[in-house]
């Protein structure tokens, strides 16, 4: 597809969601849309660390929570939203840099366990030091509309996607992927593994904080430790794998699929949603390693009968060729 057509479709889609916020005030539609945008942004931020740099963090909610906490505290304290969000993102990036240096010295499963431990510790600590609910003041409640949070969350998603696209094509992003594919080889060719992993960790955390800020701005009432819950991390990971790990569209597709399915499940099945998504996650990992994006590509290829081979097949072919060369 020519680049002009591709960008036209993207802009039309973007225009569609922009107009949606203007033409409807249906609470349910806007709530679902906001949830999709927010989870997409969070998942895209995790995808930078997990998909691009290959570091499976189970403590990503710490940064989402920090973004929410700082934004909410400052904003409800009277600071402007823009300044609150800026401070939240910058301070979270600093915290992530401090945490990242020791954590990224672990590899693989040890890194995952280390981040999980940090996540649980922070969640419990915030629950203990901030036990009271955070609700908007009465005046703000009476004036509340969904329009502001809708566009704010959409803007956060756009920023996250733009950063992801830029990163994927940049020297920094290519370095991250080199580290992901073979850390020793990357190091031997002058690509510093720790620097690149740390960069991914910090960028990912800053974007997660931005998503957290949108949560703080959108939510009427919640307990301050809720955004630190590991549930956010697992939802982000689930949608990235369901959508397509390491791709730009994967987190968006996965989030839309996840939120819509979750919110439209019949009442009898809704209680089983964790089981349902767990099974779905396993099936996707086993049968569709490239996620729904790859599934869609396979389907389109099958329909057109003349498209390029799907990524899995491409990888297989490339591996065979590489094996021959070796």
């Amino acid at each position: 597809m020519p680049s002009v057509v591709r960008w036209t479709i993207v802009l039309l889609l973007l225009a569609g969601v922009v107009v949606l916020g203007l033409v409807t005030d249906d609470q349910r539609i806007l709530t679902i849309a906001i949830q999709v945008f927010m989870l997409s942004a969070l998942a895209s931020s995790w995808n930078i660390l997990g998909g691009f740099a290959g570091q499976i963090s189970l403590g990503h909610a710490v940064f989402f929570g920090l973004g929410a906490l700082v934004t909410r505290e400052m904003w409800l304290g009277g600071t402007s939203l823009v300044l609150s969000v800026t401070v939240a993102v910058v301070s979270t990036a600093l915290v992530s840099a401090i945490l990242g240096v020791p954590l990224l010295r672990f590899r693989g499963i040890y890194f995952a366990i280390g981040t999980l431990a940090v996540g649980v510790a922070v969640f419990l600590t915030i629950g203990n030091i901030r036990p009271g609910i955070s609700s908007l003041p009465v005046d703000a409640l009476r004036e509340y509309t969904f329009t502001g949070p809708y566009y704010f969350t959409l803007a956060v998603l756009v920023v996250t996607v733009v950063v992801s696209i830029w990163l994927k094509q940049s020297r920094l992003g290519l370095g991250m992927m080199a580290v992901r594919d073979d850390e020793e080889a990357a190091g031997a060719t002058g690509v510093g593994p720790l620097q690149h992993k740390l960069s991914a960790f910090v960028i990912s955390a800053a974007l997660a904080a931005l998503a957290g800020a949108s949560f703080a701005y959108f939510s009427v009432s919640y307990y301050p430790n809720f955004p630190f819950s590991v549930v956010w991390t697992f939802e982000a990971i689930t949608v990235v794998f369901i959508g397509g790990l390491g791709t730009i569209a994967g987190p968006l597709v996965g989030s839309a699929f996840f939120v819509i399915l979750r919110d439209t499940l019949p009442s009898g099945i809704q209680e089983l949603q964790v089981v349902l998504f767990g099974v779905l996650f396993i099936l996707v990992v086993l049968l569709l390693p490239g996620g729904l994006v790859e599934g869609g590509q396979r389907l389109l290829a099958a329909l057109s009968r003349k498209g390029p081979a799907p990524p899995a097949q491409q990888r297989e072919t490339a591996e065979k060729e590489e094996g021959k060369r070796l």
């Binding site: 597709v253 019949p266 869609g296």
Partner: protein, 432 residues
């Protein structure tokens, strides 16, 4: 590859729009007004299934088939034991009102049945808010709350924003009434009432055996902080000595440390407000450690029927759940009999309060003569009526001047020990 990615994205976005536009069919358990079966609306006067139409020229246009009430209740999770009682109270009241002909709405000139749309929030305050958001878009006349301060604290802000009245029991958090909310009403004893009444009861114990050393196990929640401080103040006011005030995080599994501290401090009056799982763990571990204070108040956890499973460790514990069938208010007898028929025991402590909320709402709708949210809210605020929970009026802040009965688990049952004039049994002290 990018072309296809975009196509998939387009398809998914189309799905979003399609799903958004399809309305809401999921996530709820709609029980009927009078039969308990699903998705059936029954008219008030005949009991037969038919569409209710405006009678003799009601001015408000076509009447709805029923008056829809949105209830968010923890049917699963840590508060499930309490949530089951709340659900029973709502269901009994809705069915009783519908059997008596429904609620007359002047705007339509006809009596309409109540329809309870009850959904499970899994004891998670964050699910409470999202479910209430959904219900807010579904033409409900009012919200009914669940069990436990966290879920109420989360839900009331949503009700306020949606400007739909919210009625709740099984929440004692006074701070919630100090937010300036106009749509939240709770005819239930609040922390200041609970803090005082326990010392009033203690003062009835003969002086020569009366305990004086108070220990507080305080969970790290907003309600824990509030009630812990009030207990400490009240103890001082009544001349008792607080020798221990320890905090713990809800969901903790090991309470050995604070139990041993209480033992070391020779605590005689142990006050706590745990969630049911925490309460069970605390008293089970006390049993294992072979220590229990002579006087134990477990405000929340002990109101769950399965408390009896603790055996001796849970025996003699006092609870403060806001209601007891022995209070003798009109309507209790019928409700209690139904509970006995269904559950094989007298009505559980939270059933009465929950039942009263539906009575209050039905009366308010009738008084308002319309299903308009603001009119119903104003009518609730002006409530002055007798319910199974006693006479109810509301203060400006949505609280209600209501008796705070204290009960004691004795021989597997729940006996009313305070106020003395309604007591079914004298306080057993020291605790067995």
């Amino acid at each position: 590859m990018r072309k296809r990615t975009l196509l998939v994205l387009l398809a998914v976005l189309a799905m979003i729009l399609a799903a958004c536009g399809s309305g809401d069919e999921g996530g709820d358990t709609t029980t009927t007004a009078d039969s308990g079966s699903e998705e059936t609306t029954t008219t008030a006067d005949s009991g037969g299934e038919e569409t209710t139409t405006t009678a003799d020229g009601g001015a408000g246009g076509e009447a709805p088939e029923s008056i829809k009430i949105g209830a968010v209740v923890p049917i699963t999770g840590p508060f499930a034991g309490g949530g089951a009682q709340v659900e029973r109270g709502y269901r009994y009241a809705v069915e009783a009102i519908n059997e008596a002909g429904g609620v007359f709405v002047e705007e339509y000139g006809v009596a309409l049945p109540l329809e309870l749309d009850l959904r499970d929030d899994a004891s998670d305050p964050n699910q409470t808010t999202s479910i209430m958001e959904e219900l807010g878009g579904e033409d409900i006349v009012a919200y009914l709350g669940g069990f436990g301060s966290p879920v109420h604290a989360a839900g009331t802000a949503i009700a306020e924003r949606n400007q739909i009245a919210y009625l709740g029991v099984a929440t004692a958090l006074q701070a919630l009434h100090e937010q300036g909310y106009q749509y939240y009403f709770s005819p239930f004893p609040k922390s200041p009432d609970i803090a005082i009444s326990v010392f009033e009861l203690l003062d009835t114990i003969p002086e020569d055996i009366r305990p004086s050393r108070v220990g507080i196990f305080q969970e790290t929640t907003d309600w824990g902080e509030e009630l812990g401080a009030l207990w400490e103040d009240a103890a001082q006011q009544f001349g008792y000595e607080v020798v221990l005030r320890e905090t713990y995080a809800p969901g903790s599994t090991d309470f050995t440390d604070i139990i041993l501290q209480a033992q070391a401090q020779d605590v005689e009056i142990l006050l706590s407000l745990p969630t049911p799982p925490d309460g069970f763990a605390i008293y089970q571990q006390m049993g294992e450690l072979g220590w229990k204070a002579p006087f134990n108040l477990v405000v929340r956890a002990a109101d769950v029927p399965t408390w009896n499973d603790l055996g001796e460790a849970g025996e003699g514990v006092l609870l403060s759940a806001g209601w007891h069938p022995a209070l003798g208010f009109p309507g209790i007898e019928e409700m209690n009999q139904r509970h006995i028929d269904e559950e094989g025991r007298p009505a559980d402590p939270v059933v009465g309060g929950s039942y009263s909320l539906v009575q209050i709402l039905a009366a308010a709708i009738e008084s308002a003569g319309t299903l308009d949210h603001q009119a119903v809210r104003d009518a609730i605020a002006a409530t002055d009526m007798m319910t199974v929970a006693g006479p109810i009026t509301f203060r400006e802040d949505g609280t209600s001047p209501i008796t705070n009965p204290l009960m004691q688990r004795i021989g597997g049952g729940v006996e009313l020990v305070w106020p003395a004039e309604a007591a079914t049994q004298e306080l057993v002290y020291p605790s067995p």
